[in-house]
Symmetry: D2
Subunit: 313 residues, 4 copies
C-alpha cells in the first residue's frame, strides 16, 4: 500500500475547506463523482494526510483544522454531516519574513507545502517558499504571486532537488473554462465573433476583494480570452451566494450569409470546488516528483496552472 502524502497547508479559507472536506468525503463514501484523475502514480484522492496548517485570522489559529475550515468568512458548504477532529491544530501564519525559521520548523516532515493563501502578498509567498526550501518540502503556489515563474526561485528549487509547482491554479471548471471552450468552438466551426460578455457573481471574500479592486483580475481575464470583442463586466458581490459563483455569458456571432447566432449561458458552480479539484492533482504531482527525486518544475503540471514558468510576470 502506498504511503500517504504529508501536506502542510498555508491558508485555511474556502479552497482549503473544499480540499480537506472533499478528501474526507471521498474516503468515507467511495464516490468518484467530480474527480478528474482517480489515480496519479498510484496515489488516490484519499491518500493525503494534513500534518500542519497555517492561518492569519485569530479566529482560526489554535483550532483543529476540521473546525477552523468552517469559521467565517469561510462559507463553503458542509459536504458531510460530521467530521472527526483532524489532530492538526492551525498555527499562526507568517506575518514577516523573520519568521521563516519558525514556519520551516513546523513544516518539517511534510512532503508538500501547499500555498493556498489569497493572492496579492508576494512577500509572504516568498517567505513560505523559503520555508519549504529550508524544510525540504515541495512547494505548490496556487496564487498569482510570481514564484515558479521567477527564475531566481525556480533555480533554487532545482538546485535543492525540490519540486516547485506554480503559479496560479487554473480552476477545474469555471467561467473562463466554459467561455474559452465556446469561443474556440465558434472558431473551429467558422463562425465570426461579433461580441461577447461575461458577468460573474459570487459571495466569497475573494469576490468581495475583487469587486473592491477589480482592475487586475478583469484585465487578466480579458487577456486570457484573447479578443477585444470579449468584455468582462464588473464582478458582483452577492453574499447570499456564499461560495457559489453564477456567471452569465453571452456570445453573438455570425454564421453563413452573415446570419445571427446567439448563445446565452448561465453557469452555477462552487468556486472552491474548482480550486480543490486542481489542488488535489498538484499535491499528488508534487509528491510524486519529490519521491522520484525530481527537483524544479514538473512539466506535467502545465495544464493545471495559469502562469507556469516561462510566462510573463
Amino acid at each position: 500500500m502506498i504511503e500517504k502524502v504529508k501536506v502542510a497547508v498555508v491558508g485555511v479559507g474556502n479552497n482549503t475547506s473544499a480540499l480537506v472536506q472533499g478528501i474526507s468525503f471521498y474516503r468515507d463514501t467511495g464516490s468518484l463523482a467530480g474527480i478528474r484523475r482517480p489515480q496519479i502514480a498510484g496515489l488516490g484522492v484519499g491518500d493525503i494526510d494534513f500534518v500542519a496548517a497555517f492561518a492569519v485570522s485569530g479566529d482560526k489559529v489554535g483550532k483543529d483544522l476540521h473546525e477552523a475550515i468552517f469559521v467565517p468568512p469561510n462559507n463553503f458548504p458542509r459536504l458531510t454531516a460530521e467530521m472527526r477532529p483532524s489532530g492538526v491544530t492551525v498555527q499562526r501564519g507568517l506575518v514577516d519574513s523573520a519568521e521563516v525559521e519558525r514556519v520551516a520548523h513546523a513544516v518539517e516532515g511534510a512532503e508538500v507545502l501547499l500555498y493556498s493563501a489569497p493572492s496579492g502578498r508576494p512577500d509572504t509567498a516568498r517567505a513560505y517558499a523559503e520555508a519549504a526550501l529550508a524544510a525540504g518540502a515541495a512547494f505548490v503556489n496556487t496564487t498569482s504571486d510570481p514564484i515558479a515563474r521567477e527564475p531566481f526561485w525556480l533555480k533554487r528549487f532545482e538546485e535543492a532537488g525540490l519540486p516547485l509547482l506554480g503559479d496560479d491554479l487554473a480552476s477545474q471548471f469555471g467561467t473562463s473554462v466554459v467561455h474559452h471552450a465556446l469561443l474556440r468552438l465558434l472558431e473551429e466551426r467558422g463562425l465570426t465573433l461579433v461580441s461577447s460578455y461575461q458577468v460573474n457573481l459570487g459571495g466569497t471574500e475573494d469576490f468581495r476583494n475583487l469587486v473592491e479592486n477589480p482592475n487586475t483580475k478583469q484585465q487578466s481575464k480579458l487577456n486570457a480570452l484573447g479578443s477585444d470583442k470579449v468584455q468582462v463586466a464588473p464582478l458582483g458581490y452577492l453574499p447570499q451566494l456564499k461560495s457559489q459563483k453564477i456567471a452569465h455569458l453571452n456570445i453573438e456571432a455570425q454564421g453563413w450569409g452573415g446570419t445571427a447566432v446567439s448563445l446565452d449561458v448561465r453557469l452555477q458552480v462552487h468556486d472552491p470546488s474548482g480550486a480543490a479539484g486542481v489542488n488535489i492533482d498538484l499535491i499528488r504531482l508534487a509528491a510524486t516528483a519529490l519521491r522520484s527525486g525530481r527537483g524544479g518544475y514538473p512539466a506535467e503540471a502545465a495544464s493545471l496552472l495559469k502562469s507556469p514558468p516561462g510566462t510573463a510576470i
Copy 2:
C-alpha cells in the same frame, strides 16, 4: 482564374435558399463573416454557378431559381435587398424512377449534383444518384437516406470515377454541436454528468415534419450524444420562429466533493445557414475530387457528414 463549379441542385427549400443567397451575399459584399473555409483548393465561396434546379412543388417549378427560393413554405430571410434573376428555371423533379433519363439529361454539364431534398425518400435519392452517374457528375447526398454508406452505390461511383459525398450533412453550428462540445468539456475536466436535456423549437416545414414524426430523429440524437443521462425532449413547432431554431440545453453535473455544477444554455440560430455553410464545402470538395479524377468517397469530407461510408445504415 479558377473555373467556377457548375452545380445542379435538387430541392429548392430553405437550405437551398440559404446556399444560393449566401453565395450571392458573399460575392456582392466581399464579407467573410461566417465562412469556415474561405478557399478549398483555390475555390472561394463565390466560385459556384447553379446550372439546374429541381423541385416538386408546383409553386416553385417554372420560376427562376432566385424567385423560387422565396416561395412558401420557405421562410429563410432575405439576406440582401434584391437578387437579379439567375437565368436558371426550376424544373419538375423526379417523381418516379422512370424519369432518371430526363433528369440525367438536364444535369448534363453540371460537375456536382447536390441532393438537398427532405430526408425520408430513399427511392428518390437513389434515382438522383443514378442520374448523376448517367450525367457524369459528382453526387452530394445531404439527406440521411443511405447512398454513400451503401456499398452498392459507393462501388458504382468508384468505378465511374465520380465522387460520392454523403450521407447526412453535419450542421456547421447547431444544438448537437454545442451540446456535444459542452459534454466533452465536462468529461475532459473530470466532472460527473448527472443529467442533461435538450429542447429544440423551430418554425420550418422540417420542424413540422419532425414534430409529427419525432421518434427516429430523437433516437438518432440520443445516440449521437452517447449517454442515457442525456434526454432530448419533444421538438416544438413554432411557426413564428420561421427558419430560426431556438434550443434550450441544461446540464447538471458534479464537481469536486460531489458539489453541484449547472449549465443552462439558450442557442438561437438559423438552421438553413448551418446546412448551407457545410454544403458550400461539400460542393467544393466534390468538384475538386472530380477535377483531379478521384472517384468514390473523398475522406476529407468526413467531418462534414454524420453518416459517412462505414457507418451503420
Copy 3:
C-alpha cells in the same frame, strides 16, 4: 382551540404526498414559508386530520397513508427525515358506481372529501360526489372533470346543505401564473406583443400522460393565455426531473418607436407543491362553509379554481 378538519382524500399521488407531508412539515417546524394564508376562519395549515384515503394502485392500497405517499410512480421529495405512521390505511378506491355505498360508509365522519385523482375520469368523479352527498361531507373537486360547474350537481349539494368546491384547481405558482403576469404587465405598460412561447418539462406521471395525449391541455392553456400570438410548445417528459417542472418562456414585444423588447424566463418549481398550496385553502374553505351550514358553491373559492360554476363545460 379550534377543532381540526377531518378529511378523506381520493387519490394518493404526488399532490396528496405534497399536501400530507406539507401539513406535517408545518406542524413540526413552525415554519410559515410558502403559505399563502396562514389562517382561514381560525384554521391553520396544521389543523387538518386525514381520516380516510382511497387509491386504485394495488401498491398503495393496504399501506399506511404515510407510507403509500412514497410509493412509485410518486416522486415528490421527502420534506422531512421521517414521518410516523398516520393510522390511516389506504383503501381500495371506487372502480364502478356500484361501490358508492361502500365508499360513502368509509367516508362517514369526514367533513371534507378531497377528490384529488387524475383528471379524465368523469364517471369516477361523479361517483365520489355521490358518496360525499350520502356521507354528508363537503366535496372538493380538484380535477377538470365537471362537477361544480354541472347545475345538476350544484343543485343537489345546495339542497343537501353541503359545500361543493370546484372545478380544476388553479396552481399556487406555475408556468401559467408567471406567463399571465408578464403578458398582463406588457399590456399595462403599453407594449405590443409580437410573439410568445412556453415550453414545459416535467417528470411526473401526469406529465407522461400529457405528453402522450397533449391536445386538450395545450388548447386549454392557449385559451387561458388569451392570444393567438402565444404558443405552447409540446410538453416534454424528462423522468430525471421527478416532481419538478421546468418551463422556458419567451416574450417578444415592441416598445416605443417599435423597438424590440425580449423577455426570457426559466422557471423551476415543484408542481405538486403548487397544487397542495391551493388544496390546503380549498379544504379550509370547505370546512368553514360546512360548519356554518352554507351549502353549494362558496364564492370565496373562485380565485383558487380554473373552472368554477358558470364557466363552460
Copy 4:
C-alpha cells in the same frame, strides 16, 4: 383638428433621440406598436412639434435637431431610413444661472419645456425651471434632481398657473418594472422570498456614468424593491450594447412545504425607448393642464414618475 403641442427640449441625448424619432416614426407609419396611450385629451403621439432644443456638447450645438440626435455618444438606433431637417437648430444650453433670461427668451412660444438632461446637476435644473416660469411654459423634469418635490418650486408654478411635472421619470418598461412585478406576484401567491438579484448591463453614457459612480442609483433601486433580500449587483458598461440594456434577474423563493421555486429572467430592451414612451405622456399631460389653466402638479402624472411631490428629497 387639435393644435399640436409646442415643445422646447433640454438635452439632446439618447432619450431625446428616441422621442424625436419615435414621433416621426408614428406619423410616417401610422403604427401603434409600443404606444401606451394613443390619445390623451385628444392629443395623439404625433401631435408634438419641437420648437427649440438645447444641448451642452459643442458637437450638437448649431446642428439641426434631426441631425444632432445622431451625434455620438448618442447611440440609439435609427428607426427610419431618413429624417428630413426639423428646422430647429440646437442652441447652446445654460451653463450658469446668469443665462436664464437668454433661455427664457428662446423658449417663448413653447407650451412645454421638457427637461431631459442627465441627472445630477440640480443648479442647472433649477435654472431651466426658472426659465420656464419666465417664458410661461409648463415644466417637465425627467431627472432625479428635486424640482417638483421642492415645495418652493411647486408653489411658484402653482401661483403662476403653470403645470410642473416631476421628478424622475419611471421608465415604461425596464428592469425595475419587471423585477417589481415578479416580486409582487410571488407575494400575492404566498411564496416566501429567499433571495433575489439583478444585474444590469448597458452601453450608453448614462451607464458609463453609473458604473463610475454607482452608489446612489443602486441604493435607490434597492429601496425601490423594498427588501433586504434583493441585491442589485454592480452595473456593467458594455459599449457594444449601445442603447440596449440587458438585465439578468434571479429570484429564489419557497413554495408549499418549503420547496424551492426559482425564476431566472433575461430582459433586453432599449433604455431610451422606455424613457421616450413616458415622456410622450408627460408632455401631453403638461400641455393639457396648461391649456385648461391648471397650474402646479397634475395628479394624473403620478404613475409616470418615481419621485412626485410628497416623496422624500
